[in-house]
C-alpha cells in the first residue's frame, strides 16, 4: 500500500496536468464565464459513462478477467432501461432494469470465461455482437419517455456558487451517483477484504486459492458488480443524457472506457481523472464548433480529443502494469 506522499509523487504528472487545466480554466472564466461553465459541465457529462464503463473494466480486470464486452453491456442496458422506463412511466424502474440487464450480462460473461474457461476476448465479443443484434432487431421508432429524462437536482446554496455551482452541484441523479461511486470503489478495492481478495485473485489466482479464497466466486462477484456499473452507464445514456434510445447509441464509449481504465492504471480515482480529460477534450471541441470558432479548418478542432489522447498516452502515463493474471482462465489441476 502506498503512503500518501508516495502517491503524490507517483501521480505527479496527473497533478501537474490537472493543475494546468484548472489554471487555464480559471483564466478563461475571468472573461468568458458562460463558455467556461458550459465546457466544464459538458466535461462532467461526457465523462460519466466513461467513468462507469472504466469502473466496470477495473472490477473485471482486477479480478483477472478482461471485459471487452462493456460496449455491449452498456448498449443492451440503455435499450432495456429505456424500454422499461417508457412502458412503466417510471425512470427508477428503467434504471433498475438497466442495471439488472448489465449484471445479467456480467454473469453470462463470467459463465463463459470462468465456468466454461472460454477465451475472454471471444466471450466479450459475444456480448458486443449480441447486444448490437438484439437492440437493432427490437428497436422501435417513436417510443418516448412519458416522464421525460431525469431532472437536475440543485444542491441548495452550493448550486449558487459561481462556475462550480453549475458544474458540480446542479447535476442529474446518475451523475451524482457516479461521483460517489469513484471514492467508494477506490476504498473498496484498497481498504476492504473484498478488495484485497479481488486483487489477489487477479494477480495470482492459485495463491488466493491456497488460502481458501474462491477464485471463481470472486470473479463471478466482480463481473456481476461490474456489469451493474456498465448497466448504469447504459441507463445514463438513454435516460439521463439523451432521453431516448437510438441505434448503437453507445458509439464506442465501452471501448474508450477500456482506454480510460488503462490511463487510470486500473485505479478508480485514476480512471476518473482520465475520463475527465477525455470529457474535457470532447467538450472543448464541441464548444469550438458550437461557437463557430476556427470554422475555416474544422478538422483541426475535431482533432483535439485525439491529440490529447496521444499526448497523454505518450507523455504522461508511463508504463502501466496490468494485473498479472488477466486473460487466463484458472483451473486447479
Amino acid at each position: 500500500m502506498s503512503e500518501p506522499t508516495n502517491l503524490l509523487y507517483r501521480y505527479r504528472w496527473w497533478f501537474f496536468t490537472a493543475l494546468a487545466l484548472v489554471l487555464f480554466t480559471l483564466w478563461t472564466a475571468e472573461f468568458q464565464e458562460a463558455q467556461t461553465t458550459a465546457v466544464l459541465a459538458a466535461t462532467l457529462r461526457q465523462s460519466t459513462p466513461l467513468v462507469l464503463g472504466a469502473l466496470c473494466g477495473i472490477l473485471g480486470e482486477r479480478s483477472g478477467v478482461i471485459n471487452i464486452g462493456i460496449e455491449g453491456q452498456m448498449l443492451l442496458s440503455a435499450f432495456a432501461g429505456f424500454l422499461a422506463a417508457s412502458s412503466s412511466g417510471d425512470l427508477l424502474v428503467g434504471v433498475a432494469t438497466g442495471v439488472a440487464v448489465g449484471m445479467l450480462m456480467g454473469a453470462f460473461l463470467a459463465f463463459l470465461s470462468v465456468s466454461m474457461q472460454g477465451d475472454q476476448i471471444i466471450a466479450g465479443t459475444v456480448l458486443n455482437i449480441s447486444a448490437m443484434g438484439i437492440t437493432s432487431f427490437f428497436f422501435q421508432q417513436g417510443r418516448t419517455l412519458p416522464s421525460g429524462k431525469t431532472s437536475p437536482i440543485e444542491l441548495g446554496p452550493l448550486s449558487d456558487l459561481p462556475v462550480l455551482g453549475r458544474v458540480f452541484f446542479s447535476n442529474r441523479p446518475l451523475t451524482y451517483l457516479t461521483l460517489l461511486l469513484v471514492p467508494v470503489l477506490w476504498y473498496g478495492l484498497f481498504r476492504t477484504t473484498w478488495g484485497l481478495r479481488t486483487r489477489a485473485v487477479g494477480e495470482h489466482p492459485s495463491a488466493a486459492e491456497t488460502v481458501g479464497v474462491s477464485v471463481a466466486g470472486m470473479r463471478y462477484l466482480n463481473l456481476i458488480l461490474g456489469g451493474g456499473l456498465a448497466g448504469l452507464a447504459g441507463a445514463y445514456l438513454s435516460l439521463e443524457s439523451v432521453g431516448s434510445f437510438e441505434r448503437l447509441m453507445t458509439n464506442g464509449r465501452g471501448f474508450v472506457a477500456l482506454a480510460v481504465m488503462i490511463f487510470g492504471r486500473w485505479n478508480p480515482v485514476g480512471a476518473w481523472g482520465a475520463a475527465l480529460l477525455f470529457g474535457y477534450a470532447n467538450a472543448v471541441q464541441t464548444q469550438f464548433q458550437f461557437r463557430g470558432w476556427l470554422t475555416d479548418d474544422p478538422q483541426f478542432v475535431g482533432m483535439i480529443p485525439f491529440v490529447v489522447t496521444i499526448v497523454v498516452v505518450a507523455g504522461f502515463v508511463g508504463r502501466a502494469r496490468p494485473p498479472a493474471a488477466i486473460g487466463q482462465p484458472y483451473s486447479r489441476e
Binding site: 481498504r191 477484504t193 484485497l196 491456497t210 486447479r332
Partner: protein, 520 residues
Amino acid sequence: MDATTPTSVPATAPATVPALEAVGIGKRFGPVVANQGVDLRVERGEIHALLGENGAGKSTLVNILFGLYHADEGEVRVAGTPVQMDSPRDAIAHRIGMVHQHFQLVPVLTVAENIVLGDEPTHRRGLLDLDRAADEVVELATRYGLEVDPRATVEDLPVGMQQRVEILRALYRQADVLILDEPTAVLTPQETDQLLEVLRGLAADGVAIVFITHKLREVMALADRVTVMRGGRVVGTTAPSETDEAGLAEMMVGRSVVLRVAKTEARPTDAVLEVRDLHVHDSRGRPAVDGLSLEVRAGEILGIAGVEGNGQRELVEALTGLRHAHGGTVLLGGDDITNATPRTISERGVAHVPEDREKHGLVGPHSIADNLVLNRYFRSPYARRGIRHAAAVDEEARRLVADFDVRTASIASPARSLSGGNKQKVIAARELSQGARLLVAAQPTRGIDVGSIEFVHQQMVAQRDEGVAVLLVSAELDEILSLSDRIGVIFKGRLVAVADAGTLERTAIGRMMTGGADAD
C-alpha cells in the same frame, strides 16, 4: 485471531494418534498413475521427510493432503479422524499448512497482506485492519525467529525471505501440520541452514512437519523418519539412523547409485577461455561482474562457487553472448569473442547449459527433435537454402535420444512435456554433440532427479577427459567440490580465491562465499 500457542502439544496427547495419516491413496491423471496405495503416517513434533525422484508422486500426494487434488481412492485422517478434503479451505480448517514449491504469494501485495489474505483482521465487517495485520505478523515472526518486514512488497524480497512469508502464512492459520514441497530447491546453502533450524524449532513446538526433498544430505541432517516413494508407490519408511545416504539413494532409484563422481586426475593443457577484467551490469544497470578475470584450460573443470546473486548469472550470460559486457575481454582459444553474438560464440565451439532451462534452454512448445538441433537447424543437412529437412532432423534426434537416454514416448512430443531431468538431457545432448571446446554449465543439476544428476555429472567429466574446458557454475557446494579440478569463489562480482580443489576446505569456501575473513 488470538495469540495463544495452539501449536504446542497438550501433555496428555496420546503419542499413538498420528497428526496426519494417509491410507491407501490412489490418484490418476488420465492414463498416468501418480499415486497407488500410498500410506503415510506423520506424528506430532516429527520431521518426516518424503523422499523420491521427480515424478515419484510426492507432490501429488501432498497436493491431495492439502485439498488441491481430489484422491480417486483412499482416506486422509487428521488426528485419527477421517476427513473430506475438497479444497485448501478444508485443509486449512483442519490446521494443515503448506509451503509450496512455486511460492503461492501475490507479488504486488505486501508481506502482511499476503499472510492474512483469506483470513483478514477487520475493523468492522469487511473493512481491513492492516495495522493489526502487520502487528500480528511481527508477533508471529518474533515468536518463531522468522523476522520479516510486514510492509515490504513481496516481489522486492529475496527468495529465502519469500519462503519465510509462506511459512508464516501457515503459522498464522495455526497449522499443526506443515507440509513443505521441495523447500530447499531455491535456497542458498546459508538460507537452507536457516530453514532447517526453523523447522527443528517448529517440530520441538509440536508441529508435525512433512518435508519433501530429493536431497539425501538434508534427509540425513534433518529428518526423524523418512518415507521413500518411487513410481507412485511407497517403497518404505525408515529412519536416517537405520540407513545411510547410499541406502536411501538405492531405495529411491531402485538400484545402487554412484554418489561420488568417479574421475581421474585432470591433465589440463592450453588455456581455452581467458577472461580479463570483465565488467557486466545486471538488468537494473548496476555492476554485477566487477573486474573479474579467470582462465579455464582444456581438460579441466573450473567450478565457480558462490551465493547466488554475486554475478554468476551475468558472468555466464556475458560469456555466451546473452548480455552485453561493459568492459574487459573474453578470449576463446586466443580469439576475441567479447560481445560477439550468441550464434557466433556457439559456432566457435562454446556449449552452454543455461541456468533456466525452461526459459533459455528449450523452446517448450516445440518438439524434442527441433530442440535437439536448435543450435544447428539452419545448417546442412538439417536445412538447405532455408528449406528444412525433417528426415535429417529426426534421424539426428533419434540418435541423440538413444545416446543420452532421454526418456520420452516420441521425439515429436513438445519439449515442455519432459521431466526436469530429461529436459536437461536434451540440452546436454544438443550442446555436447557438436564438438565443443568450452562447456559453460550453470546450475546443471538444479531440480533434477538423482539418476539424471549422475548422468549429467558423468557427461561433464567425460567431456573434460576428451579435452574440453569446462566452466561449472553452481550454488550447490557439494557439486562444486565433487566435480571441480580447480575452484574459484565469487563474491560481489569478483573471484576472491582460485585454488586447486584439494587445497580448499568446505568451511573455508563457505566463509569466502559470504565475504568472510579469508576473502582477502
